[in-house]
Amino acid sequence: MAMERVWPLTAEEQEATRKSSATGTPTVIVDDLHIVYKVYGATSAEEKGNAATALLRLVKRQGRPQMREVHAVKGVSFVARHGDAIGIIGRNGSGKSTLLRAIAGLLPPHSGAVYTDGQPSLLGVNAALMKELTGERNITLGCYAMGMTPSEVRAKYDEIVDFSGIGEFVQFPMSTYSSGMGARLRFAIASAKVHDVLLIDEALATGDREFRKRSQKRIMQMRESAGTVFLVAHNLDVIEETCNRVIWLHKGKIKMDGDPAEVIGAYNKA
């Protein structure tokens, strides 16, 4: 897809790009971003979800009480650059996954904006895969879902199988895989495509030590090929080993942003 920039650069812009290449040109700019979304189906204890109460609500012209608004991200701003691998840490519900989805353009901002270069992709090919089908079929299906062409799939197929290290299991349905094997195959498929900006949400949590090393190596490669990687993980070791910058989200706001060792140190103390 849109791997290279399609708009022409003026001489001035080219100069500016060269100058800033020391720090990397911006790839993602998040400008005072607020995300508010609606949640359905959250029933509280006293509100019984039976037909009679539902009818009563209709008669009284009340909306569904199960619908709640969640203000998940409250005014986040930062600039990510070419070659950055940014770890995002924070407690459960601090807005990490929501922020990733917003960067990927999958959630509309309530206010503020996300500016991107090309199309950031969430490493989320899982949703397209079917566990009743063989690994082989799933590799093709997943690659097509990410928008690859048949010739690209053929070219990448062996590499995906090798990288996942599942061997002859590729001929078996994915439902027979161990959770580690499944995670490895999913990461192998998702990372087969060249992404400008890659967003990874908890994908590296599973898998053995050896696979973790390999996937970290692949993330490094992506950084070197001038992409930007965002990584959400609860495992702080993974973040510290992989990232050159860490953002600590707390209740939807940035609490700290900077050097991994420093931010993780502060996070551990808190």
Partner: protein, 303 residues
């Protein structure tokens, strides 16, 4: 809290000299969310044709993967359906007296209607059943209802094998008209895709639609002359209600059923306007359905 990193300085200190929006503009970065233009959307969709096909086949394979007979069910399901409907309407309710070759009449009606019914119901669920996919990957969302339509088309091809077998067994001759069968199916497929795209948007935002749809579908089934011949049924109506027949025959499902009966059964006479109705509905549904679905492209899977 100390924030010594240069990137933070960009985000905060940089705001003094240059706003983030201006910085984005200078580097040619764009906002992520926007609906593509209609021609570009069609192009994007064409680029995803491999995904549509693969997704449809995969769903069909996975559907029967747990059963011992596996893919044989693609053939067995229509056969069993034909048997049940024949037992109910042909033997027990004995509808066949006024219609020559009632077996072929009934089975054609059931199979052709099932194709439309399953595609449209599938389309209505195609967005809500794939929310995780929509929230994870970028692709033109129309690929999903399209994949469901292709899946049903694959199933229909098996049903047509069964149907043609049954029709030949009931003594109908093979005629040159049979060459028009693909044309009739193509028209029906076009209508199905349009209707399914329309229902996909309705089903995505009106969540109660999926509860209501089975009842709508059953009413449609009974109104489409699957079990009875429409002219016979309205023959007893008073003169002033004669228009009811035209309205029933304008029903797209009835038109596609009558078209197929006309091709397969020699003694069958279709309503005068069957081909015109079939072509009209195919074009109308596709244009309106596609446009209506595209209008909400950026909102699927949100909220």
């Amino acid at each position: 809290m100390s924030q010594p990193d240069s990137a933070v300085a960009d985000a905060q200190g940089g705001a003094a000299t240059e706003s983030l929006a201006a910085l984005a503009k200078r580097h040619g970065l764009r906002r992520a969310i926007a609906r593509p233009s209609l021609p570009f959307y069609v192009k994007q969709l064409w680029a995803r044709r491999h995904f549509v096909l693969k997704y449809a086949t995969s769903r069909n394979v996975s559907k029967y993967s747990q059963s011992m007979l596996g893919q044989l069910w693609q053939l067995l399901t229509p056969l069993l359906n034909a048997g049940v409907y024949y037992l109910m309407f042909g033997v027990i309710l004995d509808q066949k007296k006024d219609i020559s070759n009632y077996t072929a009449f009934l089975i054609t009606g059931v199979f052709i209607f099932t194709f439309t019914q399953r595609t449209v119901s599938g389309g209505a669920k195609s967005i809500s059943n794939n929310l995780s996919l929509i929230r994870a990957l970028h692709f033109p969302r129309a690929a999903l209802p399209l994949a469901y339509a292709v899946q049903e088309l694959q199933q229909l091809l098996w049903s047509m094998l069964v149907l043609i077998g049954i029709v030949l067994l009931t003594g109908e001759p093979l005629t040159l008209y049979w060459l028009l069968i693909p044309v009739a199916l193509l028209l029906q497929l076009t209508f199905n895709i349009g209707a399914s795209l329309f229902m996909a948007r309705v089903g995505a935002f009106a969540r109660d639609m999926n509860q209501l749809l089975p009842f709508i579908m059953r009413t449609w089934l009974y109104a489409s002359g699957v079990f009875f011949s429409i002219p016979d049924r309205v023959a007893d109506l008073p003169e002033s209600l004669a228009f009811v027949q035209y309205i029933m025959e304008l029903n797209p499902a009835a038109a596609y059923i009558e078209l197929m009966r006309d091709l397969l059964i020699q003694s069958h006479t279709p309503p005068q306007w069957a081909w015109t109705t079939a072509i009209f509905w195919a074009v109308f549904a596709l244009v309106i359905g596609f446009w209506y679905f595209w209008r909400a492209e950026e909102r699927y899977g949100r909220g």
